[in-house]
Amino acid sequence: MVHDNKLHFTFPKKTRTWSMALMAIGAVSMILGWMFDKTDHHQYWWANLLINGFFFFAVALGALFFYALQYAAEVAWSAQLKRIFEAMFAYLPYGLAVVAIVLLAGQLHIHHLYHWMDPNVHDPNHADYDEIIANKKPYLSAWFFWLRMVVYALTFLLFARAFRRWSIQEDELGGIDLHYKQYRRGALFLVFFAVFSSTIAWDWLMSIDTHWYSTMYGWYIFSGMWVTCMIFATILVVWLKDNGYLSAVNTSHLHDLGKWVFAVSMLWSYLWFCQYMLIWYSNIPEEVTYFQTRYEHYMYGMWAIFAVNFAVPFYVMISRDAKRNTKYLTRVGAILFLSHFFDLYMAVIPGTIHGHLEWGIGEHAHHITFAWWFEIGMFLGFLGLFIYVVLNALTKARLIPVNHPMLKESEHHQI
């Protein structure tokens, strides 16, 4: 059985220091980046904030989705891991806050990531009038847009809070009533998620390339969200096991986590390819602009991201042994985690800075395509914040949910 002192997770001092150091790097990069970024309205800086804000928010939202899915599908093997996902979705308020700051700044015209937020494009008498964007006004009007933001935030946060509260109550009370409550609420969450996972992708990402549209877009962003969540969870589980926790998590559980990383990577590749192929094949001007913009400055990057996100999991993770090997899981996981970050980068940057970035200090601004130190620094900062919030949340409850009715089946999981 699980040893008592390992029922609770304690945040190791060293890891705490590391995550704080990463946050410090992030803060310094953001300050220096703001000074260096000479692009109009610090567009580049804001675009990076959106990427990092959305990326880690998406990992947390993916965790909430997966958690609900485990209940709705009556899954047993993951019962021991549910605290991991709870800790991950504890980041939701922080992620939402960062996204909200970016959107609010856009609304206040501090930056122009979202072209449609400019009122002039909706005004037929103005020189900047854009008929296509004006046509989208009913959906992209400020009040409706912000109403949606409030509904998203409330939905995600309230569901997350309820799941967490019942989960901790179950530790104390036992029984199966709370389990069935979670089951029903999990299924209900999936209904909201089915719609909102698409609409947040339209609202926060697709609307950057305001003219462009693709019906697939929401599902494609969702698959990326799901895969990054599974990767982070896998790496976290391996790390906890290496530190002596989760002793009842065996190779079959790791195998299952690896299968999810593999399967969702294939789902992402499938959706990416179908979207690309159908747009390329039919070659309709309204649609093909999206990839034209990417081809112009980022063609190699775009294809490299697809190649890595598809080929690495396909060739490495297809084998049973690889999915049971923690070295493969963590290394392939790290590669894919980064590569999916770049995938999101590719969704935001081409439509916001169009390959032209003015960068430098004082009078010495020059044109470059990207500023690597600033981007790496900002990513590391948010990674540090995410790790800190998740591990901190992990200390707040028992690491193993002792009264989960499927716990025994999970402990004997063998495939």
Partner: protein
């Protein structure tokens, strides 16, 4: 010994032993054919013959006997094709994807679902093959050398991809189904007293002896085939969707088509599985193996896939407006308010609204309600393809060329005929084949059998 969580409902009800399972499933094959079966088979065969008659007339007289015209060049033919291919998705999903997910409840339903898949794919093939007009030239779709008399097929065409996707899917599904049947055929062979039948089942079972080595190989090959079949479940209907989505016809070209078609296919496939199994479990007395929990799970799959399809419909509708493209928006306005709006609303009601009734536990665990809704879903999914195909092309870019489609007696006869052929094949299967994977079921008896689970018997 491993026991599943006590809150799970047992998958095999009652006090069954290994011998009971064999008796329950092999018994009907050994006995004389029941009267109901003879009546049902006769009716199905008559309908099938009518369909074959229509096909023969079509081949003799030409494609002009269908209602197609210069504007609507694809109508019932392709609708039926996509409908049947869609139905042919559940079997391989159940056998392959649910095997990878280690879902034990699949063991009660996979055999007949796979059989259904194979027959449905055969019916699907009828339509494009005869649509070629000169059906004796069908081999031209194969990549044969030019000296052979045909030109190389056009690999740029999604129709060509269909040939490969569907034939691969069919072959793998057939092999998968057959491998699963081998141990069960051996069980029948070992019990059979009629010498000629014993010989037939002996040949069919490939000398299966039930040794541990055979079982190891059986399990290995099942996993490998599941791994191969899973991407095929996705690829077939994705490529079918590309028949439309690679075009520039508004209403056909949407990037969401591939995953949305796959979901719709699983949706209709499960509906057809339910229609068939609800009758089969009753007439063959399989209530202990296919019980309410199985039906509830299948109904949940129907809610999930139906809702995904619903989200896709609304996404398409929304984006057609959001795009600001005149043609794109008109295609959808015409869909819900044009001359074919009745079919659009039929589709919406049957596919999006009616499955939501399964949110009520009372409805998803009610046999009559499930039976009715499974048929409603199949009707809805036929209309979905009709809506996509006919309403999109009957009014395209040139208003002068707008038109409508009216099916002829041959259109209708061929469609009904394929239903007859399908049911004839399925009834033959139910008579001579083990309809449940009986040897696989035995592996879960002690884990999930009711009497074992409750520790009454042991």
């Amino acid at each position: 010994m491993f026991k599943e969580a006590s809150i799970r409902k047992p998958l095999i009800l009652g006090h069954k032993t290994y011998h009971d399972i064999t008796n329950d499933i092999v018994g009907p094959i050994e006995g004389p054919a029941p009267r109901q079966w003879k009546i049902a088979t006769t009716i199905a065969a008559i309908v099938a013959l009518y369909g074959i008659g229509c096909i023969m007339y079509l081949v003799a007289a030409g494609i002009g006997t269908w209602g197609l015209n210069k504007t609507v060049g694809w109508a019932w033919d392709i609708t039926n094709f996509v409908w049947w291919v869609g139905i042919g998705h559940a079997g391989t999903l159940i056998s392959a994807v649910l095997l990878l997910f280690r879902q034990r409840w699949r063991m009660a339903i996979n055999r007949s679902a796979e059989a259904m898949t194979i027959f449905a794919v055969m019916m699907a093939a009828v339509f494009p093959v005869f649509h070629m007009g000169r059906v004796w030239m069908a081999y031209w779709t194969l990549p044969l050398p030019n000296q052979f008399g045909s030109l190389w097929p056009n690999f740029n065409s999604a129709l060509m991809w269909d040939v490969f996707a569907i034939s691969t899917y069919f072959s793998v599904s057939l092999v998968f189904w057959y491998i699963g049947l081998i141990p069960d055929f051996a069980t029948i062979r070992d019990r059979m007293v009629k010498p000629r039948m014993k010989r037939v089942y002996g040949i069919l079972s490939f000398g299966w002896s039930g040794r541990a080595k055979h079982w190891t190989r059986f399990e290995e090959v099942s996993l490998v085939l599941a791994g191969i079949a899973t991407p095929l479940v996705f690829s077939v209907h994705s490529i079918v969707s590309m028949d439309f989505a690679t075009s520039i016809v508004p209403g056909w070209h949407a990037t969401i088509f591939p995953p949305y078609f796959v979901s719709g296919a699983i949706f209709s496939g499960f509906a057809m599985v339910l229609t068939l199994l609800l009758i089969m479990r009753k007439t063959m007395r399989l209530e202990a193996y296919i019980h309410l929990k199985h039906i509830e799970y299948m109904n949940i799959v129907i809610i999930v896939t139906g809702s995904i399809v619903g989200v896709a419909y609304l996404t398409e509708l929304f984006i057609s407006w959001y795009s600001g493209v005149e043609y794109e928006s008109y295609a959808f306005i015409n869909r819900f308010s044009g001359p074919y709006s009745w079919s659009y609303w039929m589709m919406m009601t049957c596919n999006v609204i009616s499955p939501q009734l399964f949110w009520f536990k009372k409805i998803r665990t009610s046999l009559p309600a499930t039976f009715i809704l499974s048929i409603v879903v199949n009707i809805g999914m036929w209309f979905e393809r009709f809506v996509i195909i006919v309403t999109s092309i009957h009014r395209d870019y040139t208003p002068a060329a707008w038109g409508e489609f009216h099916p002829t007696i041959i259109d209708i006869g061929m469609f009904i005929g394929t239903i007859g052929i399908f049911f004839t094949l399925f009834l033959l299967f139910a008579r001579y084949f083990p309809v449940l994977a009986l040897n696989e079921l035995k592996t879960i008896l002690k884990v999930s059998g009711e009497s074992y689970k409750n520790d009454k018997a042991h």
